[in-house]
Amino acid sequence: MKQLLSGNEAIARGAWEAGVHAAFGYPGTPSTEILEALVKLPDVYCEWSPNEKVALEAAAGAAIAGTRSMVTMKHVGLNVAADPLMTLSYIGVVAGMVVVVADDPGMHSSQTEQDTRHYARLAKVPILEPGNAVDCRDFMIRAFELSEAYRCPVILRSTTCVSHSRFLCETKDRQARERMPFERNPSQFVPLPLWGRKLRVKVEERLDRQSTAAAAAADLNREFLRAPALGIISSGVAALHCLDIFPDASVLKLGWAWPFPDDLIRAFAGKVQRLVVIEEGDPILEEHIKALGIACDGKNIVPRTGELTPARLMQVKSAIDGQPHPVPTAIADAADLPARPPILCAGCPHRGLFYALSKFDVVVTGDIGCYSLGVFPPLSRTDVILCMGGGFTLAHGMSKAGETRPVVGIVGDSTFFHSGITGLLNMVYNRGNATLIVADNRTTAMTGHQDHPGTGKTLMGDPTIAASIPDIARACGMKRIRVIDPNDIDNTIAVFKEELYVDEPSLIITQAPCVLNDKSAVRAPLHINPDACKNCRSCLKLGCPAIESADKKTKPAINPQLCTGCAMCQQVCKFNAITKA
């Protein structure tokens, strides 16, 4: 049967066909839809774990217990999960385990541009790189086979373009699989130094066998032999772009590029007159190929940063040919168009939080989530962002450094459970005095509304405990805890006045549901009475997309299709011009 699947859906499909029994993950663009697709298929246990480290460890447990397992995350998630991955490479698995990591070249929805292939080398485990949804399904099945053959986890690296492109895929039935028995064997599964040193040697020996196998894996590493004048070695979706942009070139599309398939690389290099390595990300293949003594072009003509789009490959083509291949760029009129950056949605409760904060001279350390958008004008109320959980810990460090203004650290609810708790505990334990805020909209909003330990529901759709943020904070020793509704602007400002200047730790939970997720929070749209409106433009300081004004002379008006009736604008209007429509 053929289905038009996205890369993420195809990863789920391949895993399901391979008989995956348990899947774990933490949401993160561009990886999120994998588990959302998998949970819709029968007979698979799926869960959102609080963070990627927990998810990878749980998947390792499932694989050691003898069932095929997987874990999904975005590239920065593997930073969090790197610790267990390194050791899992040593102790290994019983049934197959695949670590699916989605990189984000071009940083469409990420704070860094990382090349996960570095982690494969660091952990000394194989990495497969699908180029489209067909590869995603096929490679996922192969990844489980390789994981079992070598008893080690295998990384499958997708990218934004691969995860979010669709392709027609041939799909088959699910393999029937029995659980393989877990048998006690401390010298294999307990990496105390006396056993760990022996495991370390085995890992190195495994790499040699994998390199030989990769060179022979014609289904993963495909040669497209066309004219011999130009040969391109590439991987992932970049290799597919190359097939279109260089119609005469021979292309070696590496789907299993590490451990390096040296024999295959040497053989391909021998078939072409000029060799160019076109890699999205870092020059990992290029440096190795040069180390093999094979001359090639690479990052001297291929961009080092950003996504390798067809247009940028045309520039590479110009460099190879020595003649220009111009590509049209945005027309002159486009340069004057207003920018349309992502913004907090109409009715977003985070707006009240940032608007209230804008009334105080404070330093704000933010975090990763929708509320990162609080940095943009007109709210402009975030000063530093580092990483998941960093909102709390940065604030503590800045206040300990003697920052004279009050320091406010913000994390979201999902982020609190991900890695905010340890930061809060640390600040209370070490007698810090920053003000911590949990922007609690009752969901993991930015990635598309996934459940988390505070929502009372699992990924499988079952009711469960709803972990209480105030109770956790109290257990950590936090004495000052306020729970407020950020839609009430005056009260939010009043609470900030009380909490920002105290010389002890303080936690404010601004709690109101994301209106995209909880439609019961949506009310009738409001209306600006043009006779009462003095065009003072106070309401526009909220930065709400539902309040429109084409220019400074035009009185603002509310777009009823966007307005959710949150009434924040009504609260900031000094002339009572805003009423129910």
């Binding site: 049209p328 009129d333 349309r340 299709q561």
Partner: protein, 190 residues
């Protein structure tokens, strides 16, 4: 034969559904199909695109600038932002709907006062129509994506109306199939 189609608009307007219907129709017609979508942060009211490629053989899911047969936009200025994707002489189908970005409302930028002359400069061949009002008159303004789809379908001769109808039936919730089929044909007749 190879077809490249770029859809543009603002996050939340429904270009993903339009892309899905085009891909489904091309698939039903027996072509190889690939699409590319924007998810994540850009969806929060940002400028977004979807791309569809189909033909006897397609590799890359991304369309090279200057090679799109059709550019269709659900928002007026979002057509101009991506005009350079269109082949010289390609067809542009543009909704008259104007969504004022927050950058304009807060005085950081200006929305162009007169769009028609810009469109005339950008596109030798274009349809600039009020898809929203048409959709509203048929019962739901949110169907403007289907009306627009009907309008752009006239540029894709290789897919007959019956195939489009089947694709709509596959992609749209059963209760809305009849309404959307009507919307599609209204767009096609424009």
């Amino acid at each position: 034969m190879k077809r490249n189609i770029v859809l543009s608009g603002v996050g939340g307007q429904g270009i993903l559904l339009a892309a899905k219907i085009i891909a489904e129709a091309a698939e039903l017609q027996g072509y190889q199909v690939t699409t590319h979508e924007i998810h994540g942060m850009a969806q929060r009211g940002g400028s977004v695109t979807a791309q569809i490629r189909y033909g006897e053989e397609v590799h890359s899911p991304l369309i090279l600038e200057g090679e799109a047969d059709i550019l269709a936009s659900l928002e007026a200025i979002e057509a101009i932002r991506y005009a350079h994707y269109l082949l010289p002489g390609g067809l542009a189908v543009i909704s008259q709907q104007q969504l004022i970005p927050v950058t304009v409302s807060t005085g950081q930028a200006q929305y162009p006062a007169d769009i028609e002359p810009m469109l005339a400069r950008a596109f030798p061949r274009y349809k600039y129509l009020d898809f929203c009002s048409i959709a509203e008159s048929l019962g739901n303004a949110r169907m403007s994506n289907t009306v627009l789809l009907g309008a752009l379908s006239t540029g894709l001769d290789e897919i007959p109306p019956a195939t489009w109808e089947k694709a709509i039936a596959v992609c749209v919730k059963p209760a809305f199939v009849a309404m959307n089929t009507t919307a599609f044909h209204r767009g096609r007749a424009l």
